[in-house]
Each structure stands twice: as C-alpha cells, then as structure tokens.
C-alpha cells in the first residue's frame, strides 16, 4: 500500500509540474496575477507530494518490504538502520527520486521566500523549474520507478553494495545533489530573464544567494566524496580524475565563475550576457554530470547503474535543456542591454580574468572527460585519459589564477591600481618567499616544484590576510579602532577572506600529500614491525569478528613513535556473505593534520597478511580547505545586503505587483 501511495504521489507531482510549467507563463503573457500565482501554490504542493513519495520509499526501506524490487535489490533485513535509510539513495532509482525531491525543495523555497520578486519573474522562474521537474518525473516514472513490486516476494534482500555501507554515503550524495540541483535556480532565473528580455542588477542580487547556496553544498559535497573515496576505497588516493569526479568538478568550476561574475553584475551592472551564459552552462554541466553518472556510459567507481534506455532518455533531457536554453540565449541575448564600462585593470577586470581561467580550466576537464567517449563512439578506439593529462593542462591554468587571487579584492572597481595593490601585497610576497626558502631548505635535494607550490599557497593565504589587514588599517591606526573596524566589515568581505584562504590551505595539503607521502607495502606476520616516517607499527595479531551483515578479520597494530606507544589501529577486511563481496576498511590515525593510514590485502598461505601503510603529511588540509571555502560562502550568504533583499527594479514590475 505504501509503495502504491508513493507511486501515486509521484504521478500527482508530475501533474502539478505540468500545470506549473504552462499556466504561469500564460498568466505572464496575459498579465493575469491570479494565473501567475498558480506557480506558487503548485510549487509548494509539488514539494508536498514529492516529499510524501520520498518518505514512502524511505519507509519501505526501513521496514524491509522485499516485495518492492528496489528494496529487495538494495537492502537486507540485517542491515543497520542508518544504512537502510542511506541505501534509499545508494541506487539508481532512489537517487533519482532524491534528485527530484531536492529540485522540488528548491522550487518550493523560491515559491515560499520569493515574495519580494516581481510577480512575472517569479512565474517565469517557477515555470522553467517545472519544465525540468516534469522531465525528470517522466524519466523516473517511465524508466526507473522505485515502487515496482515483485510478484513472488522473496524473504531476504540482496543487500546494498558493501562499499556504499558507510556513513560517507549518508552525506555525500545529498550534499552533491543540493549543489547540482541548486544551480537549477540560477538556470531558471537566466532562462526567465531571457524569456522576459529584461535583466538588471536586482536580478543578480536575487540570483547570487541561490548560486552561493548551491556552491556551498557542492563544495562540501565534493570534499566529502573525496574523503569518502580516500578512506573507504582503501588505496589512499583522494582524487583520481575519474570521469564521475570530473562530472562534479565541472559544475563547481563553472559555478565558482558564476559566483564571481554575478558579483560584477550586481555591483556594476556589467557582464550581464556573460553571467546569463554562465548560469546556463553551470546547470548544463550539472545535467551532464547526472547523465554521465546515471546513464552508465562510463564504467567507473561511481557508476552503479547500467541500462541503455535510461541513458537515451537522459541524453534526450540533456539535449532538450542544453540545446533549448542555448538557442534561446543565441536568440534573445542581444536584447539585453550592456552596461558598466571598466578598465582592464580593475576589480571587474580581475573578475573577468578569474572567469576566463576558471572556464578554461573547466573546458580542459570537459575535453579530458568526454574525449575518450567521443573517440570510442567515432573510431572504436579505446583510450584512457588519466591524471597525467590533467596535471599537464589543469594545473598550469590554475597557477596564474592563484597568483591573481590576492590581487582581485585589492583592486578598485572601474579603474584599479596594480602597482598599489602589489605594494600592499608586499607582506604576502615576503611570506611566500620565506615559505619557499624554508620548504626548500627542509627538503634539500628533493622535489623542486613542491616548495614553489607551497610558496604560492602561502601567498594566497597571506594575500587574503593582507587584504583584511588593509581594510581594517591594521598597525596604521590604534589596535582598538582596527578591531572595531573589523567588526564593522561586511560579512561578505570576511567570506571572501576565508574562501580565498581556503584555496591556499587546500593547495598546501595537496602538495604535501603528493610530494612527501611515504608508504610501506609488504607482507607482515604477527609481531612484525614496519616503520614508516619515523613511526613503528607492530602487528599484534588478527582476530575474526561477526558484524551485523558481514564477517570481518580485524588486524591490530600498535603504533609507537621513538619507542613510545601512541595508539592502536585496527584495519579490517570485511566479507559480506549476501553478495560474496569483500571490502577493505582502512584504519586512520590522525596526528595534527597528518594521518597514518593502514589497509589490508590478502592473507597468504603461510599466515602473512599483505599490508599497505601510508604516512600522509598534512593530508587533512585538503579537506579543511574546502570547509573553509564553504564557511566563507556561508558568511557571505549571511551578509546583510543579501538578507535585506534587492531594491525594487523598474516601474513595469511595480505596476504588476500593484495588481497582486
């Protein structure tokens, strides 16, 4: 009964979405406020029904109703409750339902909090939102219905892919989807602006918080995913340039560019056409990401689903939305008035540079991800494009961007003073050279590029601090006044500082981990001692243990430093009987920002076990960086300017609101 209700709620949501995609547009055309307001009610009702549908699926999973195919295939009655819930989106059907639920959530948020939007703009935005929603409801109902029943229900389920039975999965996909789908709002706003043929600074002020929110979630989602891969897949890597990872990185790069260009548009009313294009591209890349992951065109770490009919359907959605919106753009973009002149060296100029590098970097990732697919389709030749390609293309493009990052906030709008900015960054420059010297002396004879990269990272961090010091007049005026000024700074300025510093922090982590990572791989017997980076790890022994839905072999290691016992680490190897699959549970020991990492391999005939031990210096900075960035985004989001709401635009909108 629950399954049928869930299914029915989903069909009703589709009906509502279809109404929402047409009626408000007619209302906008006829200037009928009542018809335009339909969008608001339908968006909220749609959210209600999708939420009901989602709750139904969660209930089915929690109660282990194996008469439902989706539950049977991905659940097991012995599975812990938390994984029963997270298992809902650990499979294709469930994750698509999560996707539309989040889409409906964002639509509902616009409907609920968009009261200060001009009525026709809101109607257009919600209508576009409903087009996307309708397409995905159809996709779910036709090709991937999670509520299908089995005629003869089995007693036990097939269990969830063991790799996915992890807390990381509870957080990673919803975060990522909040990011992906969040960009649908800026997309809808862009298409609405094109349909209306009108766009102004107020538009940018509405779009920015939504973009920022999506960006925060996407940043955290990617970081979470990377950390999950790092500890769960058991070989210590944190980024593999896997197509699925690239699929999430591309919207992030485009979204970061959008965040910055929307700033120019909001403050200076310039770069309108470009901002619109970026909004469209960002969401298109999110859709592409969904396509790559969900259609099964790639066989990679994340592609859980393989079914060509689905692939074709998503490809169709992709073509219609990307093609349609770009056609609309080509047709209508010239109607948008240009404005806001600026010199090449100015804040705007710096942000254009930022956009240029981010989008170009995004393009190289795009080529690296899709070229193998295109080549295979065209010539049948199979190639793989891996880390070397991206190291040679992506990294060189990011270096000038990172050098430019501290300069941007120090340049004035309209016309900036590069020399002045350079002078004010003197302290950061000195810090960077000091860091290079120290790093080089420390690792004398080692890698030459790494100290330079560390210097660059220090430059980015110190540059962000310099900018802040400059604004509060640190050391130039009495400290108490500086502190008062610091309190009075807009939160967006603090946000910029944290986000830019986060970039530098992540870079330090990346450089240290890749350059000074030490590892030990070998077969160990009980009482053997391995030493890695000054730590001695003694294998005490191995004990079998029974988990809720698996059996595991736990190895116990005693870790000591200079003969002093520090801690015990217990990596294990799990065997999931239902699927006959095994996973490796790595053990992590955090020391400051560095980590020791142990994962187990096979047991040999003579009782020795293959062991891989890594010491990863400052590895945690890789994820602290994005967390700082997201925190900066959050600060920026709480800025008064964005809470107060946008100023009322031209009279046309006011006239419409009077009719409300």
């Amino acid at each position: 009964m629950i399954a049928e209700s869930g299914h029915y709620a989903l069909v009703l949501a589709l009906g509502l979405a279809l109404i929402q995609s047409t009626v408000p547009l007619l209302g906008a055309r006829w200037r009928d406020a009542a018809l335009m307001n339909v969008a608001r009610s339908t968006a909220l009702a749609q959210l209600l029904f999708v939420a009901a549908s989602f709750v139904a699926l969660v209930t089915l999973h929690v109660t282990s109703d194996f008469s439902v195919v989706n539950v049977y295939e991905n659940s097991h009655s012995l599975k812990p409750l938390i994984y029963k819930i997270t298992g809902v989106w650990g499979n294709h059907e469930g994750s698509m339902l999560l996707w539309v639920s989040i889409l409906a959530l964002f639509g509902g948020l616009v409907a609920a909090f968009g009261n200060n939007l001009p009525l026709s703009l809101r109607a257009h935005v919600l209508a576009v939102q409903a087009w996307i929603a309708s397409a995905f409801y159809l996709f779910i109902l036709i090709t991937s219905n999670p509520f299908l029943r089995i005629a003869n229900p089995p007693i036990e389920g097939r269990d969830l892919n063991p790799v996915l039975q992890d807390i990381g999965l509870a957080v990673h996909p919803p975060m990522l989807y909040l990011g992906y789908v969040g960009f649908s709002i800026s997309f809808s706003f862009a298409v609405a602006a094109l349909l209306e043929g009108r766009i102004d600074a107020a538009w940018a002020r509405w779009v920015r918080p939504w973009t920022l929110m999506a960006w925060i979630f996407l940043t955290l989602g990617i970081a979470m995913g990377s950390y999950w891969a790092y500890y769960e897949l058991g070989w210590g890597g944190w980024w593999f340039w896997d197509p699925v990872e690239n699929a999430s990185l591309m919207p992030w790069l485009a979204g970061t560019a959008l965040l910055h260009s929307a700033l120019v548009m909001e403050k200076r009313n310039a770069l309108k056409v470009w901002t619109i294009l970026l909004s469209i591209l960002t969401f298109s890349l999110s859709l592409l990401g969904t396509f790559l992951v969900r259609s099964g065109v790639l066989t990679s770490v994340h592609a859980f689903a393989t079914d060509p009919t689905r692939g074709v359907f998503i490809l169709l959605i992709l073509c219609v939305f990307i093609g349609g919106s770009l056609t609309l753009y080509a047709w209508r973009a010239s109607a948008l008035k240009q404005g806001g002149l600026f010199a090449p060296i100015s804040r705007e100029g710096a942000l254009v540079l930022n956009n240029l590098f981010l989008t170009t970097a995004c393009a190289t990732v795009f080529i690296g991800t899709l070229y193998p697919l295109a080549l295979e389709v065209l010539t049948g030749e199979k190639i793989s494009v891996g880390a070397p390609f991206f190291n040679l293309t992506f990294a060189p493009l990011f270096v000038p961007l990172l050098i430019a990052v501290p300069f941007g906030p120090l340049l004035a709008w309209k016309r900036g003073d590069l020399l002045g900015a350079a002078q004010r960054l003197m302290a950061a420059g000195i810090a960077a050279f000091a860091a290079i010297a120290v790093a080089w002396a420390w690792t004398y004879g080692g890698a030459t590029l790494a100290p330079i990269a560390i210097g660059l990272a220090v430059f980015v961090i110190a540059g962000a601090l310099c900018d802040l010091a400059e604004r509060v007049g640190l050391f130039r005026i009495p400290l108490s006044i500086s502190l008062r000024r610091a309190r009075g700074l807009p939160r967006a300025t603090w946000g910029t500082m944290f986000a830019h510093a986060g970039l530098g922090v992540a870079l330090i982590g990346i450089v240290c981990e890749t350059t000074w990572n030490s590892e030990y791989i070998g077969a160990m017997k009980p009482d053997d001692v391995a030493s890695v980076a000054g730590y001695q790890l003694r294998l005490d022994g191995m004990t079998p243990r029974q988990g809720p839905n698996y059996r595991e072999m736990v190895a116990q290691f005693t870790v000591s430093l200079d003969g002093r016992r520090i801690s015990v680490m217990t990596p294990s190897k799990r065997n999931f009987t239902t699927r006959g699959a095994s996973t490796t549970e790595a053990a992590l020991l955090t020391r400051g920002a560095s980590q020791l990492y142990i994962s187990l391999g096979d047991t040999a005939a003579d009782g020795a076990i293959a062991v891989r031990i890594y010491h990863k210096p400052l590895v945690l900075l890789i994820w602290w960086g994005p967390v700082l960035m997201a925190f900066g985004g959050l600060l920026s989001l709480s800025d008064r300017r964005l809470r107060v709401g946008a100023p009322k635009p031209a009279q046309a909108a006011r006239a419409l609101q009077a009719a409300e």
Binding site: V69, E73, N74, N91, L148, I150, R158, N161, P162, V163, L233, W235, G237, F240, T299, S300, V301, A303, F304, A305, T306, L341, F342, A343, P344, V352, L353, L356, F357, T360, A361, A363, T364, I367, P372, E381, K382, I383, S384, V385, G386, P388, F389, N391, L392, T393, P396, L397, I521, G522, A523, R579, A581, T583, T584, S599, G601, D602, A604, A610
Partner: protein, 163 residues
C-alpha cells in the same frame, strides 16, 4: 582607452588564454593518453617495450603465482593470445582467476607486461566494459559472463582499483 580598445584588450586576453589552454591540451593528448589493448591486439600491433598501455582480458585459471614480498605473476588471455603479467603490490579485492581484469603498465624487453596498476572493475557476473567489448568482437563471448541485470537478480557492479 576607448571602449573599442578596452574590448580588444579583453578579447585579446581571452584568446591568449584559450590559445595557451588549447596548446596544453593538444600537448597533453599527445603524451599522456593511454590506449587499451587485449593480448591478441598486442601481438597484432607489435607494441614495443616501454610504451604504456592498458591490458585487458581474463586472468587465466591456474596462472596466478605469488612470489616474495607481494610480487605476483599471472597470465592475461583473451582466447587467441595470452600475455604474462608481473605486478608487485596488493591485488584488488575483486581480483580472481578466470575473471576479467585491466592492468596498466608497459612491456619489458623480455615481453612480460610490467603492471603498475591493476584494476578490477567487476564483481562475480559483471565484466569490465573494455574487456567485454573486446571479447565479443573476437567471438569469445560467453553469455553467462555478463548476465544482464534483471528484475530478479540485479547485482550492482562493485568497482575498485588498486594502485
């Protein structure tokens, strides 16, 4: 600067960055992409020693030998040809004899494939896409290799790679 000059500066800058990016991409595509081959393709194409490629096929049953200190050797076959592979390290959880495997590395002077990466992108029934396609092309495909997920039995492919 006039409006026109400003615009030209912007466009010039943009073209320069795009040009650099294009050069980087072309350079990287020439040097750093890795081709996929099966043992019989290796024999046909006479791939020389030292050139990196991905080798895919089935691990021949009974060919897996473990040496000292995690060194392993096994044979990868695709029905018409076979190639010995040497690897040092921990094999992925899903590595098994008689099943599909993809290894990355290069041939040494004696014709042994020295793998530095072994990927096992499959579970009991699922095959790596590359391997399945190659086997199908050569007519060595057995239907039970890649039983398509049906409503009654749909194993999700478990995937992993080991460096």
């Amino acid at each position: 600067m006039t409006r026109k000059q400003r615009r030209l500066t912007l466009i010039g800058g943009a073209l320069m960055v795009l040009g650099i990016a294009a050069a980087l991409v072309l350079n990287a595509l020439r040097d750093s992409i890795v081709f996929f081959s099966t043992p019989s393709m290796v024999a046909e194409k006479h791939i020389g020693p030292g050139r990196r490629f991905r080798l895919g096929g089935l691990v021949e049953t009974g060919s897996l030998k473990r040496g000292d200190n995690l060194a392993v050797t096994f044979t990868v076959a695709d029905g018409s040809a076979a190639l010995p592979v040497a690897y040092k390290g921990i094999l992925p959880d899903l590595f098994r004899e008689g099943q599909g495997v993809v290894a990355e590395g290069s041939l040494d002077a004696s014709g042994v494939f020295r793998a530095d990466t072994v990927l096992a992108k499959h579970d009991e029934t699922y095959m790596p896409k590359d391997v399945a396609d190659a086997l199908k092309k050569q007519g060595h495909w057995k239907d039970d290799y890649g039983t398509k997920p049906t409503a009654q039995a749909a194993p999700a492919p478990t995937q992993g790679a080991v460096r």
